[in-house]
Symmetry: none
Subunit: 199 residues, 4 copies
């Protein structure tokens, strides 16, 4: 029964739960959700199969926890950038910061992101989390920009679109999929678009 899931409060238990999440994170990243089995997760976490179900309701529950952590790890640094940007705001400089941070995040989480995102199609809860993340980012950034005195016309739409563009670009850069693309040149173009969007 789901009610039997332990809520670990002791240090060692929390550590163990985190080890399982970490193992899940790694395996989901490496071979995807369906390529991972619970025995493997347990093994990599250095625990027994059984105890996994002491900390998580089922395999999907591990995924959900990995997702939550992923979302925190992505949201916080991005929110920080806008919040802590020095005034007066240099739009190009801010744009570059966001691009670079997004690339950094993508470098670190790209494979996991793909795995998680692919499950959004069939798992409503996962999907909802992703949408909520985008909502949060858009809201936070729009709010900050308004505070900084930017033009409020369609600010949400512009921010949202900007984030999408940056994400697209980061994805491309990180996977470096297309040999004919000059990613440095593209970065300039992206930057120009962002500056145009917010000036």
């Amino acid at each position: 029964m789901a009610s039997n899931i332990r809520v670990p409060k002791q240090e060692r238990s929390i550590e163990k739960k985190n080890k399982i999440i970490q193992a899940g994170y790694e395996l989901f990243s490496e071979v995807g959700y369906y390529g991972t089995n619970t025995a493997e997760i347990a093994k990599r976490a250095g625990v027994s199969t059984g105890i996994v179900y002491g900390y998580f309701a089922d395999k999907r529950d591990i995924l959900i926890c990995v997702l939550e952590i992923y979302i925190d790890n992505v949201y916080t640094p991005l929110a920080d950038i806008v919040e802590k940007t020095p005034r007066p705001v240099d739009v190009r400089r801010l744009a570059l910061s966001v691009i670079d941070k997004t690339i950094a995040l993508h470098t670190r989480y790209a494979k996991l992101h793909n795995t998680l995102h692919s499950l959004a199609t069939t798992d409503e809860a996962v999907n909802a989390q992703f949408i909520a993340l985008e909502n949060k980012i858009t809201e936070q950034m729009s709010g900050q920009l308004l505070k900084l005195g930017f033009d409020p016309t369609n600010i949400t739409e512009r921010v949202h679109l900007a984030m999408n563009i940056v994400q697209s670009y980061a994805h491309e850069t990180v996977f470096d999929s297309h040999s004919y693309i000059d990613y440095a040149a593209m970065k300039d173009i992206v930057c120009n678009i962002l500056v145009a969007l917010f000036s």
Copy 2:
């Protein structure tokens, strides 16, 4: 064994193979790759389980065929638009056409796209196909634009980026995930970006 795969040349066989691909296409769209089993595909295709392995090496092979068809269905209409655009070129008009066609394609193929895309992470061949598709679209469009006398500076990068932006926007619109977004307003912004990119 893979060597026993029939290459159907008789009409009836080709029809049967296509029915299986169609069934796979539908089910992969509806419930994803891992939510579909071969028995179900055979059933929907109106054939026996066994014969599926007469036409395909394995379940993944069906996916690959579905992917090929998907790619054709996406590439051709987009290529057509630029190719058949009336001269002299009205950039805004062309941009709108591409946006609308991309939305139409997304509306039709979004779920399948997600399913296919999610497999790219763990399946190199699938990933390669997606990259190749983007290559083809970018090359074709860049080539056309050059013929039409557009500025060649970083044309590939600008085209590629433009396609990414349009895809992002189409995805958003189709799934209509964020209630606070005014998608019509966003469309104008996207359009303006494209016009700016190519004028």
Copy 3:
């Protein structure tokens, strides 16, 4: 999905389904429901684990099928006895026939009966089947006795009670549990009670 259960119509399939039921019957008899696993059933039936789920929805479904057969095998012979009793009715003779047949049935099915009966406590469907069996026997016998001109006062109650007594006795005899009991003498007593009940 439950809808994928084959309804075997070919001889060989029916044979195979029966082999599984037979294996289930034997194992449930020998080591009980919880002492039996599906792999064991398959093994004894000479089939693979997987195919068991081609014929049955789950393990419990096998139990239900075994139960149905058990019920047929118990009901039919008992119903026959009263139906085919020669007229004019010799009550003592009829009573003896019923007792002997019940003993024979118990000898054959006692362990299975226990297994099945024990599941009635936790499985409503199983319970319902047992109650229905008793209903059927009681109704059929009461009806026959009325046709034969027996006193209708509380005939259902008397028949039902009579069956219970006979069953108790048969159970005792078959398991021969109590060394101090003279089962032949007890049989006479039971017989006398039945005669008294229906004269």
Copy 4:
């Protein structure tokens, strides 16, 4: 290991052991032996999982203890009735007392009885206890009836049979399974049979 089972002599320990037995009794009654797990027993008893194995060899051992208590609770009241019956003996009155007490016991213990009884099939020790209980009851009652001057011919058989009949009836009444049965009328019939058996 079995040799490490504590034989609790301190008050608190005995209390704890009894709490576990009580929890086992409740759960075995409610959801059966196989529907109960040791963690649940411990939880309901308000003790840790581990300590259960300080007092009991294994899960089955708890069942055996529950069984012992059950047997005491069933035996004593029935033995009392015959022992304390006022003289001269009114057979009908005595019969009614036994019937009513058996019904009361069934009402209280029916579900537990079923659970325990169902295990007798696969567990020799449980089976032996049940047989021993019947032996005890039969012997005690036969002895008392002889003391009271009843006809000794086949007294054991008559007593045993009588108990079986009463139990059957009590079971029926308590579960009230058959809507067409007039249980009050049946009670009279049972009573008459008993009176006939012992007059």
